[in-house]
């Protein structure tokens, strides 16, 4: 007897848990301008395939939980994020305007130093993978790396405090 295909949950079930305001609040620290942040949040939570919106939302919220658990005591003395890279708009190349062809959210590359040394071709390839692809995907990657950078900073500060 052929196996009955499993039913997907309706799209409305996914839409029901996505709260853009939660992501907006999470990204305030890495993207202070409200209008620019609203653009990025819309791209992550309201554009692209619905399962992507839902999964990006879930992962970003989990990173928010992690940041809360780590506490923000070390933020004031944390080093600036260092080098950042842009996420490009997916414009036809001949139509891009220099200086306005990327999203306002930039991705810090510092966390990737733990995987491959900065300046190495493999490091550049990591950056390329994270910032390439559909905008909703690349922006979610950039947002997650930004929050992970903050989480790593907080974890190191906590370990330092705890001795």
């Amino acid at each position: 007897m052929p196996r009955r295909p499993s039913r997907s949950l309706p799209a409305s079930a996914i839409a029901s848990f996505i709260q853009p305001a939660e992501i907006d609040a999470l990204l305030e620290r890495v993207l202070p301008d409200g209008a620019e942040r609203a653009f990025v949040v819309r791209c992550i939570t309201q554009e692209g395939p619905i399962h992507h919106r839902g999964s990006s939302y879930a992962l970003l919220r989990l990173l928010g939980v992690l940041l809360d658990e780590l506490g923000d005591e070390g933020d004031a003395v944390a080093d600036p994020p260092g080098e950042t890279v842009s996420v490009r708009l997916r414009l036809p190349p001949h139509m891009a305007r220099e200086g306005d062809d990327d999203y306002p959210l930039r991705m810090p590359t510092r966390p990737l130093d733990a995987i491959e040394p900065s300046g190495d071709r493999k490091h550049a390839a990591l950056v390329d993978c994270l910032t390439d692809g559909p905008p909703h995907h690349a922006l979610a990657n950039a947002a997650m790396v930004s929050l992970l950078d903050l989480a790593i900073t907080r974890a190191r500060a906590k370990r330092s405090r705890d001795g």
């Binding site: 301008d33 620019e36 692209g48 708009l89 997916r90 036809p92 306002p104 905008p135």
Partner: protein, 221 residues
């Protein structure tokens, strides 16, 4: 069953063609405002009602404007309502034509913001070259195929809404050409400027229905 008697006033037989010419040059809403003003000055509310009765089904935006007019004053479009939606942008592309609203927008918008009108995508289009000579600021004619040249993180798209309910609005069909998934993530703000205070009562001939979710900002009534 009795039928509602039509207005006793006969409009000239050319009024249909005249309105279509005006709507092509000015936009449906702006032409309707012009006709309501002029006919009201000529024959008061009965003449406006006659216009609505005669042309309303063919031009539902005219029907909506005449219904709201009711012999009273037409309120000027308030471009300042767009302040939040357009904060921080440096380029704005307008899809669809409404001369009265574009006049207000062009006068209000900072000269630091580049302004363009999309061409080649609407059901009715004026002679844009001639139309844009009336403005005191530069306004670029932007063919649909060139739209993405104006994309960017400080760019916005704006179109006019002809009435809305809780979930839908009626728009110039040009909007249906431009708000594709790729373009949606290339413009910071997707703005719907609603011009009618009530949803259309008649079949929305000339227009397309779309979801309010299309827009990052909806302003107006």
């Amino acid at each position: 069953m009795s039928e509602r008697p039509g207005p006793a006033i006969a409009l000239p037989p050319t009024v249909h063609a005249s309105f279509l010419v005006a709507a092509t040059d000015l936009g449906m809403w702006s032409a309707a405002r012009l006709f309501c003003r002029e006919l009201s000055a000529e024959g008061g509310a009965p003449l406006v009602e006659a216009l609505r009765d005669e042309l309303g089904r063919d031009f539902p935006v005219l029907d909506g404007v005449a219904a709201a007019f009711g012999g009273g004053e037409l309120q000027a479009p308030r471009a300042e309502l767009l302040a939040d939606a357009l904060a921080g942008i440096d380029r704005l592309v307008v899809t669809g034509l409404e001369a009265d609203a574009l006049d207000a927008l062009a006068a209000w918008l900072s000269l630091d913001v580049e302004l363009a009108v999309l061409t080649g995508a609407s059901a009715l289009e004026p002679d844009w070259r001639a139309a844009l000579t009336n403005y005191a600021r530069p306004i670029t004619r932007l063919p649909l195929g060139e739209l993405q040249r104006w994309a960017g993180r400080r760019s916005a798209l704006l179109t006019f809404l002809y009435g809305r309910d809780h979930a839908h609005a009626y728009v110039d069909s040009a909007w249906m050409r431009v708000h594709a998934p790729d373009v949606r993530v290339q413009f910071r703000a997707l703005v719907g400027w609603n011009l009618l205070s009530q949803p259309l009562e008649l079949y929305p001939r000339w227009l397309s229905q779309t979801a309010l979710e299309d827009f990052s900002h909806v302003v107006g009534p």
